[in-house]
């Protein structure tokens, strides 16, 4: 039967608006941030461009005191790591046209800039692992439970400070441990000691507890060479320090001569390893 004249998408095309766009903009594909829970975060008071993280040195005293004798003096010393801050900016021009046509507000733009800044903080935090002096080297091979436990024992032997012991690796490095759990003991660990880690939510950066250690999986773990990455055991809040001169500032300037707003979000911070004995790098295949 032939088409009928009347109201159709061609005849009344002027009434049809363009593409319908979801109001909820999905997030970028970046790992969830771990630095907020794992770093030793401090705020630097005004007056200095350098921040120092001190720690007590280990002192052994074993001499006894003979009767009527005088006690010898014991030297108590400290060590420290210092850090300078750097300003990390994210700057963008938000045009009036984009605000109107894309329904973008200044607040939305600044919130997106803040997310990008925190992505950078997370990458920088984990990049500090590359400066560890204690390293378990498994370059070119996948992790397994034996290698993981030897590394765990090695960090415990350094008498790390009290706190939650964390293992953070790439998804493959954590997955290697899951594979080992699945194949160990005829699969009995899947419902036994390894069940929390093995059955955790795979899309979550926090993967659960195994053998007293909290597992995190993040693609921000730094690469080491061609095919490896530097995973790490660390004591949460005691291995890598982040000193903030200011955490987040935002400013918007009406740009003279341009139709829009010049937006910038920025933070000033510095990072360093504050105690090498609270950190152990584990190098193995990353993917």
């Amino acid at each position: 039967m032939a088409t009928q004249a009347g109201f159709n998408t061609t005849s009344v095309n002027d009434l049809i608006s363009g593409v319908a766009i979801d109001d909820l903009i999905m997030g970028a594909n970046v790992p969830a941030h771990v630095f907020m829970g794992l770093a030793k975060i401090v705020d630097v008071p005004p007056g200095s461009d350098t921040y120092r993280f001190p720690r007590w040195d280990t002192v052994s005293v074993s001499a006894t005191l003979a009767e009527s004798d005088e006690a010898a003096f014991t030297s108590i010393t400290t060590s420290a790591e210092s850090v300078n801050g750097s300003v990390y900016p994210v700057r963008s021009f938000l045009s009036d046209e984009a605000q109107h046509d894309a329904k973008l507000t200044v607040e939305m733009a600044l919130a997106r800039q803040a997310e990008i800044l925190m992505d950078g903080m997370d990458k920088n935090f984990l990049a500090a692992i590359s400066s560890a002096t204690n390293t378990s080297n498994h370059t070119g091979v996948a992790l397994d439970l034996d290698k993981w436990e030897v590394a765990k024992t090695a960090i415990i032997a350094k008498n790390p400070n009290a706190g939650d012991l964390v293992f953070i690796g790439t998804p493959k490095q954590v997955g290697d441990i899951e594979t080992a759990i699945r194949s160990n003991g005829g699969g009995s660990m899947v419902v036994g000691a390894g069940s929390e880690l093995f059955n955790s939510m795979p899309l979550s950066v926090y993967r659960g507890l195994y053998n007293g250690v909290h597992f995190f999986a993040s693609t921000n773990v730094p690469d080491s060479g061609g095919a490896d990455a530097s995973a790490a055991f660390m004591v949460a809040g005691a291995a890598i320090g982040m000193a903030f001169w200011f955490r987040m500032k935002s400013k918007g300037v009406d740009a003279a001569g341009r139709a829009g707003v010049d937006l910038m979000s920025y933070a000033r911070y510095g990072l360093t390893i504050v105690n090498q004995n609270n950190l152990r790098e584990v190098i193995s295949l990353k993917s």
Binding site: S86, Y88, G120, T139, S230
Partner: protein, 160 residues
């Protein structure tokens, strides 16, 4: 010759990657920058206040680490083949092809072991171990053998 390579960290901020070798022969790639301080290194970075451009002037291992066997890969290559030899140049080319320096797609191949400097192998063989790990040996002549009582009884030398 520079012992480090430069890359862009988060937000395009200048960062350095300095390959080092530990006393045990582990090759590590130490990240550093103005806001990313490495306790392994002494770093000098200059900022030009007018242009806002940062430059890494120098980056080297702390001397306390060098004394116990740490070394930069640049120094190890230099010890074998002098300044900017072919293996060091190949190593720099390989670094630029890795994901550490943002190569896309990156290489997954390791740098060939046969081209690594001899200092790495020496460290892996224990040449720079801090501990004195020599086996304890007592000369045979100094060992006093205790006579066997059973043999003595058989020979009639001892009463049962």
């Amino acid at each position: 010759m520079k012992s480090w390579v430069e890359t862009k960290g988060p937000h395009g901020v200048l960062q350095g990657v300095l390959p080092v070798c530990t006393p045990d022969g582990v090759i590590k790639y130490v990240r550093f920058g103005w806001g990313l301080s490495s306790p392994l290194l002494k770093v000098e970075i200059e900022h030009d206040p007018e242009t806002g451009v940062s430059m890494i002037i120098d980056a080297r291992l702390k001397s306390a680490l060098e004394r116990v066997g740490w070394a930069t890969m640049a120094d190890l290559f230099r010890a074998d083949e002098g300044e900017a030899g072919p293996r060091w140049r190949a190593y720099l080319e390989w670094l630029k092809r890795t994901s550490m320096l943002g190569a896309d797609p990156p290489t997954r191949r390791p740098f060939p072991e046969k081209y690594l400097p001899s200092g790495v192998g020496e460290r892996r063989n224990g040449a720079h171990r801090a501990l004195d790990d020599e086996e304890i040996v007592i000369p045979e002549s100094e060992l006093v053998k205790t006579p066997s009582k059973q043999k003595a009884r058989k020979a009639g030398l001892e009463e049962t």
